[in-house]
């Protein structure tokens, strides 16, 4: 039989941890079965299970809260850090860890928290002054040679930034300007460091930030002095505060906002593999363009070589050949002509010779006289003597005759 809570009889007995925890639990849960609690949301986290964890806080205290999936699903707004809410729930004890918490059934907005209000007031003021305007945003250098970093000298933020810059763009050099990023005076120190890096020669880009934390932890980045220092910076500033969901005034003023310090490093520098790839692309383009140009010129040279201008000398030679052929032809025909004339002359001579032949003379009634016994041709009467035998040849046939008288 256990001692009931509050019993004096058990003052000297020794409890086991689970035992006393159970006692506390019963006491608390019985005392606060249903309560309304008002406070500011802090460390709000939605777990993948669907349960929601956060704290409610005011100036002095903090109360752990859990909202189980079924209740969380009924929320009509998205709670965020700094938001002032009113929660209905019961106090429970998480025995395993030995802490108490408020199990929230329902949640409603209860007017804004002081920090959130300050945030809204400053944001509105700076917006009206034009500090967030796009036209004031400076472009980030594509290949920053020297990058200034304003953050705590220890902690994950600086490690993440150096790791990523070292991996992606080791061509850069990094100039760390260690600064406190939370607590009293942090904002002034951050602002001063931004100014220092602006005065230091060669700094082309400034990363300002810190890792995640509560709204209070990040508060320095919501202060006006930091916003003004970023706005006044002649060097482009990338802000990198907290986690994805955290937005600070610094983010609105900065030339570029990165959700985390790692992301700021990604924004700040290119990736050398990507640039090497781009370089290859340029080389390819240059080679192709150069090749095309050479082919173009080669084509032109080719075309020119076939042009009339360059063909002309050869044409002239060909023409000379033609001229020669022509002359040759003409020479030939002249010779032939002469030959033809000669041939004509010969044939007419032939005809005359023909017509001069004895047979044709004989056919006209002449006869040929030959004397005996030698049968020599007789063309004069003096060659004949009385009683000499002569032979007369006619066109057809012949006769043997005797000379009766000779007249000279």
């Amino acid at each position: 039989m256990k001692q009931p809570p509050g019993s004096n009889e058990g003052s000297s007995r020794v409890y086991r941890v689970s035992e006393i925890t159970r006692q506390v639990r019963l006491l608390l849960e019985d005392s606060f079965p249903e309560v309304w609690v008002e406070g500011e949301v802090s460390n709000y986290k939605e777990h993948s299970s669907g349960h929601v964890y956060f704290s409610l806080k005011d100036e002095a205290s903090e109360l752990r809260c859990v909202m189980f999936r079924g209740d969380a699903a009924l929320l009509r707004f998205s709670p965020s850090d700094g938001m002032k809410v009113r929660a209905l729930g019961r106090i429970t004890v998480y025995e395993k860890r030995g802490y108490y918490q408020l199990q929230v059934f329902s949640l409603s907005v209860a007017g804004k928290g002081d920090l959130a209000l300050a945030f809204e007031v400053l944001k509105e003021k700076l917006r009206n002054e034009g500090l967030f305007l796009q036209e004031h945003k400076k472009p980030l250098p594509q290949f920053p040679a020297k990058i200034g970093v304003v953050t705590a000298s220890t902690g994950a933020a600086v490690k993440d930034i150096l790791k990523i810059i070292g991996r992606r763009w080791p061509l850069a050099s990094v100039l760390l300007r260690p600064s406190r990023v939370q607590g009293e005076g942090a904002a002034a120190e951050i602002a001063e460091s931004i100014g220092d890096l602006n005065r230091w020669p060669g700094v082309e880009l400034i990363i300002v930030g810190r890792g995640g934390g509560s709204l209070e932890d990040l508060w320095a980045f919501n202060e006006e002095i930091v916003a003004r220092a970023i706005y006044d910076s002649a060097t482009p500033v990338v802000s990198a505060v907290g986690h994805e969901v955290d937005y600070t005034i610094a983010d609105f003023v900065a030339d570029a906002r990165a959700p985390t310090p790692s992301a700021a490093a990604l924004v700040a520098v290119p990736d050398r593999d990507e640039i090497a790839f781009r370089l290859e692309g340029l080389v390819t383009r240059a080679l192709r363009a150069g090749g095309e140009m050479v082919r173009g010129f080669a084509g032109r040279v080719d075309a020119l070589s076939r042009s009339y201008g360059l063909r002309r000398p050869r044409d002239l030679i060909i023409q000379r050949w033609q001229d020669l052929d022509e002359m040759h032809r003409r020479t030939n025909s002249a010779v032939r002509h002469r030959l033809e004339i000669a041939a004509g002359a010969i044939s007419s001579l032939d005809a005359r010779v023909e017509s001069a032949a004895p047979a044709s003379v004989l056919s006209r009634g002449y006869c040929i006289c030959r004397r005996q016994p030698g049968r020599e041709l007789v063309s004069r009467s003096s060659e004949l003597k009385k009683r000499m035998s002569v032979s007369l040849q006619f066109a057809e046939g012949s006769a043997e005759c005797e000379v009766l008288e000779v007249e000279v």
Partner: protein
């Protein structure tokens, strides 16, 4: 003379490629440009492959003077 900046060299290279591609330069000029481009590519590749991140720290002494010191070796990749 100051070390040529990566950015300037890259820009010059892009400009050369665009000029060659435009076809507006003569053959001789483009051969010169190609030579320049290949020099740039070599230099840029060298920078990309040989670079090593340099980290320095700028801190203030008691008089508020900024002082530079080399940060201890950081981060393995």
């Amino acid at each position: 003379m100051a070390r040529p900046r990566f950015e300037d060299q890259m820009r010059r290279l892009e400009e050369i490629v665009e000029r060659i591609e435009s076809g507006e330069v003569g053959l001789d000029d483009s051969i010169n440009l190609c030579e320049e481009a290949s020099g740039l590519v070599k230099a840029l590749k060298k920078k990309l492959s040989e670079a090593e991140l340099k980290v320095q720290e700028l801190s203030k002494d008691s008089e508020g003077e900024l002082k530079l010191k080399n940060a201890e070796e950081e981060t393995e990749c």
